[in-house]
Structure formats: structure tokens, C-alpha cells
């Protein structure tokens, strides 16, 4: 087990390293001169331009720039935003908080909804309720998330706030009105995220629970006179929750990464919207940093899911011990 975790950790760092490298070279390959974007004003003149190129190390060979990039990254310096003309991290961190708030709540709600619906479906498998539930889940899964958001926005226009995180006129009132206002702004985007994410949980919950419910020991429990709820709580759920737990762990990465489409539709000032804005502003350092952050959080979440899976499922640790799993 320890060896497995060690090996996974090594591969985690290798992946992060390759992500960082990819991220560096991808943005070096871009067709536009970064200097042109940073100092847009033509009046700057060649002298200042020269000096800026020196300051940013753009006169050095690419591999020196790469080493510099790694060094500065380790010190938490992700560059200066072309658009805001401020350190990227200063802009990034508050955005990150907003994203975690929105997507975190959406994720929790969708897990609750998904698990409940999946359980109902599995227990009543083959019934009309089950078929309708699955049908609806696949249908919703097939709809683009941004469109669900836009439709909800149209339906609730004038009733609920449809954009931003807080109404501008309320910011200076007391804390409770402020929180109340943020909560109201969260309703529609959270509802959208719940609809977008719940389908996956429902279908996974249903399939793993159906599998467990057809095992012999469930029949035994039923023969002993245990009711449906008793079987679910005492025997089935624990065994069926494994795929759910790993899916949740994987999705932790998404909580940090944010949801680009939903954040754009509702102008939610999170990381996803930041990525979009950086594309529009051609703000490459910002885009680079946001992309790196998003990727690394997903990588780390995947790593956690792997470890969690190995810890929870004795079959995996058995296979690891026997050298069957790499």
C-alpha cells in the first residue's frame, strides 16, 4: 500500500511538472509578440521597449526563460497581467474564492439530489419511475450547461438576480443584507450547476446500487425479513458508494476549476469567467496562470481519488500487493 501511494505521488509530481512545462511552451508558441500586448501604446518608443524586454528576460534564450519561469513559479510569482497591469495572483485569489463558493454549493446539492434519485431508481428498477428518471437524466446530460442557465435566466428574469455576485447598491449595508443578497444571486447559477452535475451522480448511484442489490447477501437479508430501507442502510449503500466517493473526489478538482459556461452566463466573477475574460483581453499571463491552477487542481483531485479508491476497496490493495496494479 505504501509503495502504491509512493508510486502515485511520484507520478503526480511528474504530471504536474509536465503540465507546467506544457503550459510554458504552449504560451511561448503563440503567434503574437507578448511585448506588443503588454506595451500597446505606440508612443512608448524603442528605448522603453528595449528596457521592458530586458526586464522581462525576453532577450534570453527560451530554455533560460523556462528555468526563470519555474523559479518564479515556485516563489508564487505568476507574472503581471497584461490587462490589469497588476500581479496575476492578486486578481486570481479572490476569483478563486468566488468559484469555490458557487461550484462547491452546486456540487453538494447535485450530490444530494443525484444520490436520492439514483437510490429511488435502483430500488424501483424497471418501473415507470425508473425509466422516466433515467430518460430525464440522459436528456439533461445532453443539454449544454450554458443553455440550461440561459433558459433559467429567462424564466426568472425580474424575480431573481441574473448576473454578478452582489447588487452594487447593497455592498455598503450591514453584513446580513450583504450575505442575503449574495445568496439570492447564487440561486440561479447554483440551480444550473445542480442540474448540470446531478445526472452523473444519479446514473452512477443507480448502476452501482443495482449491481449490489442483485447480490445473494441482499436476498438473504430480505429473507431474514429486513425491509427495503433496512437493506439499503445496513447492507447496500455502503458497498454501492465506492464509485460515488471516487467520482466526488475527482469532482473536487472542478470545484476549484469552476464552470466556465455557467460563470459566463451569470457573470459570476469566478475563475471560469476569468479564463473567458483573459481570452477576450488577450491577457496571456492571466490565462496561463488560471489554466495552470485549474489543471493542477484537477490533477491533484484525481490523485486523491486514486488513493481513496485504493484505501476503500480492499480488492485494489490486494491487487497492488500482488503487483497486479501499477
Amino acid at each position: 500500500m505504501r509503495e502504491y501511494i509512493l508510486r502515485r505521488t511520484v507520478s503526480l509530481f511528474l504530471t504536474i511538472f509536465s503540465v507546467v512545462t506544457f503550459n510554458f511552451f504552449l504560451f511561448r508558441l503563440m503567434p503574437i509578440d507578448p511585448m506588443h500586448l503588454f506595451a500597446r501604446d505606440p508612443r512608448l518608443g524603442p528605448v522603453i521597449r528595449e528596457r521592458l524586454i530586458k526586464i522581462f528576460g525576453l532577450d534570453k534564450p527560451v530554455w533560460v526563460q523556462y528555468v526563470l519561469y519555474l523559479k518564479e513559479l515556485l516563489r508564487g510569482n505568476m507574472g503581471i497581467s497584461f490587462y490589469y497591469k497588476k500581479p496575476v495572483t492578486k486578481i486570481l485569489v479572490p476569483r478563486l474564492f468566488n468559484t469555490i463558493l458557487l461550484v462547491g454549493v452546486g456540487e453538494v446539492l447535485s450530490i444530494i439530489l443525484g444520490v436520492i434519485l439514483g437510490m429511488i431508481s435502483a430500488v424501483k428498477r424497471g418501473s415507470k419511475i425508473d425509466i422516466a428518471n433515467i430518460f430525464f437524466a440522459i436528456l439533461i446530460w445532453s443539454a449544454p450547461g450554458f443553455w440550461i442557465g440561459v433558459m433559467l435566466m429567462m424564466a426568472f428574469m425580474g424575480i431573481l438576480p441574473t448576473s454578478g455576485i452582489v447588487s452594487p447598491e447593497i455592498i455598503h449595508k450591514d453584513l446580513w443584507t450583504y450575505l442575503w443578497d449574495v445568496g439570492r444571486h447564487m440561486i440561479l447559477p447554483t440551480l444550473t450547476l445542480t442540474l448540470v452535475y446531478y445526472t452523473e451522480y444519479t446514473l452512477i448511484m443507480r448502476s452501482s446500487l443495482v449491481e449490489v442489490l442483485t447480490e445473494d447477501y441482499i436476498l438473504t437479508a430480505k429473507a431474514k425479513g429486513l425491509g427495503t430501507l433496512g437493506i439499503l442502510l445496513r447492507h447496500a449503500l455502503k458497498n454501492a458508494s465506492l464509485p460515488l466517493v471516487t467520482l466526488t473526489a475527482v469532482n473536487l478538482g472542478i470545484i476549484v476549476a469552476g464552470d466556465v459556461e455557467v460563470e459566463i452566463v451569470f457573470s459570476w466573477p469566478g475563475l471560469g469567467l476569468l479564463i473567458y475574460e483573459s481570452v477576450i483581453h488577450r491577457d496571456y499571463p492571466m490565462l496561463q496562470a488560471a489554466f495552470l491552477l485549474v489543471t493542477i487542481s484537477v490533477v491533484v483531485a484525481n490523485f486523491l481519488a486514486d488513493i481513496l479508491y485504493a484505501v476503500l476497496d480492499p480488492r485494489v490493495s490486494y491487487r497492488v500487493k500482488r503487483g497486479l496494479e501499477v
Binding site: 511528474l14 504530471t15 509536465s18 503540465v19 506544457f22 504552449l26 508558441l29 503563440m30 503567434p31 440522459i138 436528456l139 446530460w141 445532453s142 443539454a143 449544454p144 450547461g145 450554458f146 443553455w147 440550461i148 440561459v150 433558459m151 435566466m153 429567462m154 428574469m157 445526472t199 452523473e200 446514473l203 452512477i204 443507480r206 448502476s207 452501482s208 443495482v210 449491481e211 464509485p243 467520482l247 478538482g253 472542478i254 476549476a257 466556465v260 459556461e261 459566463i264 452566463v265 479564463i275 473567458y276 481570452v279 477576450i280 490565462l287 488560471a290 489554466f291 485549474v294 489543471t295 484537477v298 490533477v299 484525481n302
Partner: protein
């Protein structure tokens, strides 16, 4: 058995799935409807959706002349919808073909040769598997510019890793079967074994995987277009929603906003149903959750 017969046998298995599964039949019906719409668009559409309308034709409500109304530059929305099915289908299908090619090649070579080839290919696969797709697509699309070819490339190049993994594990198990060893014993080379024995045996899995990639590609195209990274010269459902949102025509123009989304949803749904039905048959080992059980 000739090579053709081997492949035909596999295709027959696929057809069998369609005959027995109601889900697959419904999915097929939806897809055929959209395919007809795309192919015969010039005959079905009442107007040319690329011609800009006069001032009086802007944002008309649904009427007899314009069943779904007109958009912010006076184009008939129904005609737009019909023409847009072309781009949406084309992008999704070609992008999936690219993903299929790359995924199959990497999966087969990785599984068959093992060793260093496997190690290198799987590192690359893991990288693409783990990098969140949409941000990656956005970053790539930003660099290479807005055109249909680029959208196809971006979606194709980010959609293959799941397929490569599944195919690799299938190849690993096929490789161990006795008939492979027998072919090697009678002097078959690697290329011949791959073409004659490995590929026919993964063909149906490749098809099933491709069919679950298509709805994802459809959704990716619509999202990229909605964000504003789509080809401005061609109409797709995502582009229609992009303009609707951009010009703020949300209030009261329900048909304008609802119809492209419904088209995207139905088309993706059709492919999901078929992929779902096929994967149940060909990939029982995989706990994909979504595509298992009935």
C-alpha cells in the same frame, strides 16, 4: 475467413444491437431526422438564413411567414436552425473521426507493443485525460483562431484519451488469447496480426466509444461557439445562441433562445442513446456508470 468477412461479422453484431434495443432505435430515428435536415437544408429551409433582412424584419415574433420569428439581423430563425444542423453535425462527426483515429492508433500500439511505447503513449494519454477539456480547448482555440477546421481540430485533439485507454485494455486482453500466439507461430508479422486479428476485435468497441464521443463533441462545439470561439462565417446552433446572448435578446424571445438549445439537446441525446445501448453490449467490463445497466 477473408478480412472483409471478419469486419462484416462485427458490423452485423452492431446491427443486431439496433434491432433489439428500443433505446438504439429511438436514438437512430432522432439522428436520421437531423441528417435529413442537414442534407436537404436548401430544400427544407423557407429562407436563405445568410441573407440579412431589412429593418422591418428584425426580431419579429413567430408568425405564419416566420414560424419561429426572426433574429436581430432579420434572418428567419427556422431556416437558421435547419442550416445550422450542417455545421453542428459536421464538426461533431469529423472531430470524432480524428479522436477515433488517434485513440485507436495509440490504444492499439500501446496495448500491442507494451514496454517503452506503452509507457510514453500512456503518459501522454494521462496528460490529456487529466487536463480539464474545456479550458484546454479554450486556450488552444484562442491561439489558432476562429474557423471550422480549427474548432474540429481542437475538439478532436482533446477527445481521444478516454478511447485510447479503453482500447488499450481491450488489446491487452486480446493479445493473450491463443489465436494470436498461433498466428505468430505460423510466421505472421506484427502488422498482419494487428490488421487481421487485433483491429477486427476492437472494431465494435471503437464504434461504441466513438458514439459516446459524438455527443460530447456536439456539446463542446456548442459551448466553444457560445463563448465566441466559433466560426463567425458559418451558422451553428451554438453560434445562434452566442448572438442571442450577445445582443441581449433574452426577454420575450423564447423561441429564438429555446430552439437551438433543444436541437443541440436532441441530437446529443440521440447519439447518447445509441452509444449507451452499444456500450452495454460491447463494454460490460467498464463501469462508466452512465452507460451501464437497464
Amino acid at each position: 475467413m477473408s478480412r472483409r468477412a471478419i469486419y462484416l461479422g462485427k458490423i452485423w453484431e452492431v446491427i443486431e444491437v439496433f434491432r433489439t434495443s428500443r433505446k438504439a432505435m429511438v436514438g437512430m430515428a432522432i439522428i436520421i431526422a437531423f441528417a435529413v435536415m442537414a442534407i436537404f437544408a436548401p430544400y427544407l429551409a423557407p429562407y436563405n438564413p445568410y441573407v440579412i433582412g431589412t429593418k422591418e424584419e428584425i426580431l419579429l415574433p413567430p408568425s405564419r411567414e416566420h414560424p419561429l420569428g426572426t433574429n436581430e439581423i432579420g434572418q428567419d430563425i427556422l431556416s437558421e436552425l435547419i442550416y445550422a444542423s450542417r455545421v453542428s453535425l459536421l464538426v461533431a462527426l469529423v472531430a470524432t473521426l480524428i479522436a477515433m483515429g488517434v485513440g485507436t492508433a495509440i490504444g492499439v500500439l500501446s496495448g500491442y507493443y507494451g514496454g517503452l511505447v506503452d509507457e510514453v503513449f500512456m503518459r501522454v494519454t494521462d496528460f490529456f485525460l487529466v487536463v480539464p477539456a474545456l479550458p484546454l480547448m479554450i486556450v488552444l482555440a484562442t491561439f489558432i483562431g476562429r474557423s471550422i477546421q480549427n474548432i474540429i481540430f481542437v475538439i478532436g485533439i482533446t477527445s481521444w484519451p478516454g478511447m485510447a485507454r479503453v482500447i488499450r485494455s481491450q488489446v491487452l486482453s486480446i493479445k493473450e488469447r491463443p489465436f494470436i500466439e498461433r498466428s505468430r507461430a505460423i510466421g505472421c508479422g506484427d502488422a498482419r496480426i494487428i490488421v487481421r486479428h487485433i483491429l477486427p476485435n476492437v472494431a465494435s468497441l471503437v464504434l461504441a466509444e466513438a458514439l459516446i464521443t459524438i455527443p460530447v463533441a456536439i456539446l463542446s462545439e456548442s459551448t466553444l461557439s457560445f463563448i465566441g470561439l466559433g466560426d463567425p462565417l458559418h451558422k451553428s446552433w451554438g453560434m445562434m445562441l452566442h448572438y442571442a446572448f450577445e445582443y441581449g435578446v433574452l426577454a420575450h424571445h423564447y423561441f429564438y433562445v429555446a430552439s437551438p438549445g433543444i436541437c443541440i439537446m436532441l441530437l446529443a441525446f440521440g447519439f447518447s442513446l445509441i452509444g449507451n445501448a452499444l456500450e452495454e453490449v460491447f463494454n460490460p467490463k467498464l463501469r462508466r456508470g452512465m452507460f451501464i445497466g437497464e
